[in-house]
């Protein structure tokens, strides 16, 4: 380990980097999520006590996993002797299962597929993934999703009970089932990052920790499934979105639209990495929704100024996306591209046909009406958007725009 770094910091770093790996190995060894979680928590507690005196072991992750296994077996033996059938089953499982720290990448992937099993509700999938694969505490997950901690704790307990009682397997699906089973996994990772990017409610526009967690999960998936183009597409999409975060708000925390952003503030390293991934996945010729969205983002990233944006290419990509996923939200994005290529009136004609909840459709309509100089209608549309918006930063932006159309009109 790095000399001069306090041991507590090393333990924390090992926790961030190795928690999922340790839990994944121990879930395989004991066949039980609760046993694994408790054992890994025990091992990290032991690390905090022992490492300052004994020094950090040469392989911290190996130490954690071995210690966790010993401690779990000790405890399970005590419980098994009291006729705890659960403990007996976990011990029996551990007897037949080698520790085999080498196959950890498979273990983590198995854990991801268990957490995102379609038999679990989406909200439970997200919470479990953040808990077991992300290593976030229940309190952190509750805070991130603005849910009271006891509610989140109960959600996690129920999900883990279902995994155990219904025997949700701990396995990477076979090739035939993989495309269908990958869907919820990608959705969970994307949800983590979008929730971080624009918190659906609350005061801060971006909860950077959730963005970072989404990207970390995306990188992990990409490392484990390098040949799945949608996995690559999702990672690229998250990186390109993240690259704009420094430019998305002013120093006062006000929202800045893509067209008005100071592009010098974009994170060039993330842009380059995202663009390279987009090229890599599109070359495979199996386009999917995440890849196409990433490609749209890459087109924006290539333009030195908003005026240089290749809107025809953006529009072509939205045509493709609409064919792949014909949803009102995609149609709304396509209408925005049409407005750029053919003018705001053409975009507005499309937006007027859309029926979707939320503030976004009203915000887009308002903007198009404003550009058409139809100020009274624009003000009405801004008001409609304001009635529905839940994020405080977006609300402030809409209020400024509303004040502007009032001032001129």
């Amino acid at each position: 380990m790095t000399p001069g770094v306090p041991v507590e910091q090393t333990v924390e770093q090992v926790f961030r980097e190795q928690y999922a790996r340790a839990v994944a190995v121990l879930v395989r060894v004991f066949g039980d999520v609760d046993v694994a979680e408790e054992a890994v928590a025990d091992a990290f507690t032991a690390a905090v006590q022992r490492w300052p005196e004994d020094g950090v072991p040469p392989s911290p992750a190996g130490w954690i996993i071995t210690t966790a296994r010993h401690r779990a077996i000790d405890r399970l033996r005590r419980e098994a002797s009291r006729d705890d059938r659960h403990a007996q089953a976990a011990l029996l499982h551990a007897r037949d299962e080698p520790l085999d720290v080498g196959a950890v990448s498979d273990d983590r992937l198995r854990l991801v597929f268990t957490c995102c099993h379609p038999a679990l509700a989406p909200a439970a999938q997200v919470a479990l993934t953040l808990r077991l694969v992300g290593g976030l505490s229940t309190a952190e997950i509750a805070r991130a999703f603005l849910v009271p901690e006891p509610t989140m704790a109960q959600r996690l307990v129920r999900a883990k009970a279902k995994i155990r009682d219904a025997r949700i397997p701990y396995r990477v699906p076979g090739e035939q089932d993989l495309p269908a089973r990958l869907g919820p996994v990608l959705a969970v990772v994307y949800l983590v990052s979008t929730e971080g990017h624009t918190a659906s409610a609350g005061d801060e526009l971006a909860r950077a920790d959730l963005c970072a967690e989404g990207i970390r999960l995306g990188r992990l998936l990409h490392e484990l499934l390098p040949d799945e183009p949608e996995v690559t597409g999702l990672l690229a999409l998250m990186l390109l979105t993240e690259s704009r975060r420094p430019a998305r708000t002013t120093a006062d925390g006000e929202l800045v639209l893509l067209a008005d952003q100071d592009r010098r503030r974009w994170d060039r390293a993330l842009v380059a990495e995202g663009q390279a991934l987009v090229r890599d996945c599109l070359r495979r010729g199996q386009p999917g929704p995440y890849q196409v969205q990433a490609a749209v983002s890459a087109v924006h990233s290539e333009a030195p100024t908003a005026a240089d944006t290749d809107w025809r290419q953006v529009l072509a990509l939205y045509d493709l996306l609409l064919a792949l996923t014909p949803t009102p939200v995609v149609a709304l994005n396509r209408a925005v591209a049409i407005a750029e290529v053919e003018g705001p009136a053409a975009g507005l004609a499309l937006v007027d046909q859309l029926d979707l909840p939320g503030h976004l459709v009203h915000a887009v309509r308002a903007d198009l009406l404003r550009r058409l100089d139809r100020r009274t209608e624009a003000a009405q549309a801004y008001a409609a958007a304001l009635e529905r918006v839940r994020n405080a930063t977006e609300r402030a932006f809409l209020e400024r725009r509303l004040a502007e159309v009032h001032a001129v009109g």
Binding site: R85, A89, H117, A119, D165, A166, R167, P169, P173
Partner: protein, 115 residues
Amino acid sequence: MTQYLLSVVEPSGDGTLPPDLGQIMSDVTEVDRQMREAGVWVFAGGLHSPKTATVVRVADGEVLTTDGPYVEGKEHLGGFSIIEAPDLDAALDWGTRLARATRLPIEVRPFQGGE
């Protein structure tokens, strides 16, 4: 191995039979045969309509017998299969086959005590 109850969720409706009942019956029989052949079959059966149900309950030592199902809902248990499977994925696979055959939703639920 865990045992799973696969329940056929039947709409209560007005009791009219689906026009392709013959085909449904033979498809269900075929899934039942596959379950036996795979060695997962424990028990299976179709139920008469909820109208044929009787509820008995004991309160203060008295037996109360009432006509009809315990609750009348928009759906009822039309029949079920009990299978033995290594995990939920295997059980869901059989559930999917049964859903295809019956053209109805199948609820998959584990029994207690499996290991």
